[in-house]
């Protein structure tokens, strides 16, 4: 009884481990890459942390932990930085779009997301320049003004 159970265990384990070797590589959805290249990823991380920094500044200022003068100078500093990153990101993504297969526009994706979530497609536009903002964007990607929703 036990001998049979052990035999089944061993053979079963061997089969499961060996099985993938007999399938062609294209059947596996494994690319060993995270999609984004490190430069892009780094920029995105920097952009997000700069946004977070600006949000923190606003919060600290609202809670009167930052003086008006400090708030203005720090905010200016981070906004300049954010704009720099965004410009760099724009250049980079344009170059990558040319390289990679045609990707979809953010707006198309956004509509799909909204449909999947059961809501009607609703887009938010920047009050200042009218550019459509992404669902998570806190600041307009074009002019940098805060997005109101």
């Amino acid at each position: 009884m036990v001998t049979i159970a052990l035999a089944v265990m061993i053979i079963g384990a061997f089969t499961l481990v060996a099985y993938p070797y007999f399938k062609p590589a294209r059947e596996f959805d494994v690319s060993f890459a995270d999609g984004a290249d490190p430069v892009l990823e780094n920029l995105v991380v920097q952009r997000d942390s700069t946004y977070a920094a600006i949000k923190d500044l606003e919060f600290d200022h609202a809670m009167s932990k930052l003086s008006d003068a400090d708030y203005k100078s720090l905010r200016g500093k981070y906004e300049t930085k954010a704009v720099g990153i965004l410009q760099e990101l724009d250049g980079l993504t344009a170059a990558q779009k040319r390289r990679a297969r045609p990707t979809l526009s953010d707006e198309a994706i956004e509509r799909q997301v909204q449909q999947l979530r059961g809501g009607a497609a609703k887009t938010t536009r920047c009050d200042k320049c009218g550019v459509i903002a992404g669902a998570r964007d806190r600041y307009c990607a074009k002019c940098g003004a805060p997005v109101n929703r």
Binding site: F32, V45, A53, A62, S64, S67, T103, V113
Partner: protein
């Protein structure tokens, strides 16, 4: 199934798991280097099989424990016919072999969960994560199997050890005896407490879960993908591990409080220290990752902290398992020590090697804006926490070190740890209060003045009030006014945040308060954790500074007085139960002359045919109020004369320690709760993928 069949099934499952883990470690690594998806798929299958086989092995051991297959040595040692079923099950982690199996099982299941969680994410990191986790898994499986076999590995292990130990090499939980004992020894009576179900389990969950962030850190180092992706990916694992390390501390303290009968919950025992140290470094890690996420700084430091936490977790088990340090918790002296040391050394060396190879990619993206800023207060918090961990480590392992170097053994006890950690933790408490008052990046004197004024005033008032009601000890005044300071700052933080929201979004105050927390879960969850910690500090300060006790030998009807309590001794009661004989002192408690209830402290006698196995346990009786615990031990009795000797202790404010932990758990859950925005991003990514393929 026969006992032999069960043992074979369990043991072969472990051996297969070991082989599969080693295979998965190698295959995942090779697959990533050569970009061979088939091989990685094969490694994934191997990992799932390890999870299945270790589960099978645990199932076999548990069923052997429940059905009392005494031919299996572990079952004979850990269970007997008299003890309740639940203690039969908890025997899984009650002994050395079983608890190693429990560890290996948790790690195998966690690894499988990581694979499922990341099936479409982190594809570059994942093979190396899997490889690292599989190496760690193989280490524990080797301890359970081949390390126990003198013919394979025993020779190498036994060399540095006392030769007589070689015969008792342990590890295999399915080792058979050459006869079947009629009954087993049973779980040590000291372990027969509800704490036995929950303390080891939570502690192990915490220790083992920390392997996951560490594996991601190593993979990030190895691949050079040193952005904060590994931190974000493992944030919930880190919080999960930290939460369970905290719970492990809590349940360990509660257990010690009611079972060991010395009136305290923390004795700076080496094993207690071993569970505190990774908690301290993990706490430092939780704080410093925020700096990396926000500012792209402290990259090396975060890697070092996660490594330290992992190493200290392993060191904790090493201390418990090896018997090298005297401790109330120590398992028997075993031959596993060198294995643990080798594993620690290997981990440390490979970490350092990778770190030095990657140091060029670890440059900081920002610099600190100002010496007085939230960032530098986080840095300070990290220095203090790591300093406390090292001071504790120093006191814990110094006996070993001094013996190795000078041949003389020098030790330190509780006074050392209190003297060192007292001021360190006081500084930490003050910092908890100061931190929210300081903005990110920069604070000015003017702002500081404005923000500090009220909390500082409250703490001064608290100090004066304490002195007015007769508290004279400076340490009590300092500790409690620090507590008042911190609670005020956190309260102000909630108050101001709510007001700001109220003004900004026109929400009513209740909605504003709720939205404040739900929209800033990490920040306010963190503050709630801080409140929990401060409540805990109230309990610790009260019970360590203001404990009073007395003892008395009483005849039935006599009383003993301690502060406002009168304890009346009504007589002894002796009765047998299935597993032990109980001796109970029946007491009536009066507070200021009014009868408030009864208590019955107890001594239990577990007899065994072998007199060396007979043992007593002390079950204390506790009456808890918000202000203090009345804690009574039946320290001695004379059953013929009917007299009893009672030790009566008043432990002020202890209940706040337990309440504080409850608040801490709540705050952690709030901080870890999934953020809809993150989910939105995930849906987005999925849609993008699906559309791109269409």
């Amino acid at each position: 199934m026969t006992d032999f069949a069960m043992a074979d099934l369990g043991y072969v499952s472990l051996l297969l798991s070991l082989i599969l883990s080693l295979y998965a470690a190698g295959a995942a690594f090779y697959a990533a280097r050569r970009k061979r998806p088939q091989i990685f798929a094969s490694a994934r299958n191997a990992i799932f099989l390890v999870a299945a086989f270790t589960t099978l092995s645990v199932g076999v051991l548990v069923s052997a424990l429940i059905t009392h297959q005494f031919r299996i040595e572990y079952v004979a040692v850990q269970t007997n016919l008299a003890q309740p079923l639940l203690y039969d099950i908890s025997a899984l982690w009650g002994g050395q072999e079983g608890s190693l199996l429990f560890w290996a099982w948790l790690l195998a299941v966690f690894t499988a969960v990581v694979l499922i969680q990341n099936h479409d994410k982190n594809q570059e990191l994942l093979p190396y994560v899997v490889s690292g986790l599989a190496v760690s898994e193989a280490f524990f499986l080797a301890l359970l199997t081949i390390a126990a076999d003198p013919s394979i590995a025993g020779f190498f292990v036994a060399l540095p050890l006392n030769p007589q130990l070689a015969g008792s090499l342990v590890g295999n939980p399915f080792r058979m005896l050459d006869f079947t004992p009629p009954d087993g020894n049973g779980l040590n009576p000291l372990l027969q407490n509800p704490g036995m179900f929950i303390h080891p389990v939570t502690q192990y969950l915490g220790y083992v879960a920390f392997t996951i962030p560490f594996a991601f850190a190593m993979a990030a180092l190895f691949t050079g993908r040193l952005s904060d992706v590994w931190i974000r990916t493992t944030r919930r694992w880190t919080l999960f591990a930290w939460l369970f390390l905290s719970l492990g501390l809590l349940f360990g303290m509660q257990w010690a409080y009611v079972e060991l009968g010395w009136g305290g919950y923390w004795g700076w025992d080496p094993v207690e220290n071993a569970s505190l140290m990774p908690w301290l470094t993990a706490t430092a890690f939780l704080h410093s990752v925020m700096i990396q996420e926000r500012r792209g700084m402290l990259k090396v430091w975060n890697l070092v902290l996660v490594m330290l936490t992992f190493i200290l977790s392993i060191l904790g088990t090493f201390i418990t398992r090896s018997g090298v340090i005297q401790s109330v918790h120590a398992f028997g002296v075993s031959s596993l020590g060198p294995w643990f040391l080798a594993f620690l050394a290997l981990t440390l060396l490979s970490f350092l090697y990778l770190l030095f190879n990657r140091v060029d990619r670890l440059k900081e993206e920002n610099e600190l804006d100002s010496l007085i800023s939230r960032e530098s207060s986080f840095l300070l918090n990290n220095l203090i926490l790591v300093g406390a961990a090292f001071a504790t480590l120093w006191g814990t392992i110094f006996p070993m070190v001094s013996e190795g170097i000078t041949g003389k053994k020098v030790t330190v006890g509780a006074p050392f740890f209190n003297q060192v950690n007292g001021p360190i933790f006081l500084a930490l408490i003050v910092l908890i209060g100061v931190c929210p008052l300081i903005g990110w990046r920069r604070a000015t004197a003017e702002n500081l003045m404005r923000n500090f004024l009220r909390p500082f005033a409250v703490s001064v008032v608290a100090a004066l009030a304490l002195i007015a009601v007769g508290v004279r000890e400076w340490y009590g005044v300092v500790a409690f006014s620090a507590v008042a300071f911190v609670l005020t700052t956190i309260g102000l933080e909630f108050y101001r945040g709510t007001l700001a929201r109220h003004r900004q979004y026109n929400e009513n105050l209740v909605a504003a308060a709720v939205n404040l927390v739900t929209n800033n879960r990490r920040r306010y969850g963190g503050y709630i954790v801080h409140i929990g910690v401060i409540l805990g500090v109230i309990g610790i300060a009260g019970s360590s500074f203001y404990q009073v006790d007395t003892q008395a030998n009483l005849k039935p009807g006599e009383t003993v007085q301690l502060k406002q309590y009168t304890v009346q001794y009504d007589g002894l009661q002796v009765y047998p139960t299935a597993s032990h004989d109980a001796v109970t002192a029946r007491l009536t408690i009066f507070e200021n002359g009014n009868r408030v209830g009864t208590l019955s402290p107890e001594k239990d006698y577990y007899t065994s045919p072998d007199p060396n196995q007979s043992q007593s346990t002390t079950e204390v009786a506790v009456r808890t109020t918000a202000l203090e615990d009345l804690y009574i031990i039946l320290a001695g009795f004379d059953s013929t004369a009917g007299t009893a000797t009672l030790k009566v202790i008043i432990n002020p404010l202890v209940v706040w320690l337990w309440i504080g932990f409850g608040v801490l758990v709540g705050g952690t859950l709030i901080a870890a709760w999934p953020d809809p925005r993150e989910e939105h991003a995930l849906v987005r990514a999925r849609v993008k993928e699906a559309l791109a393929q269409a």
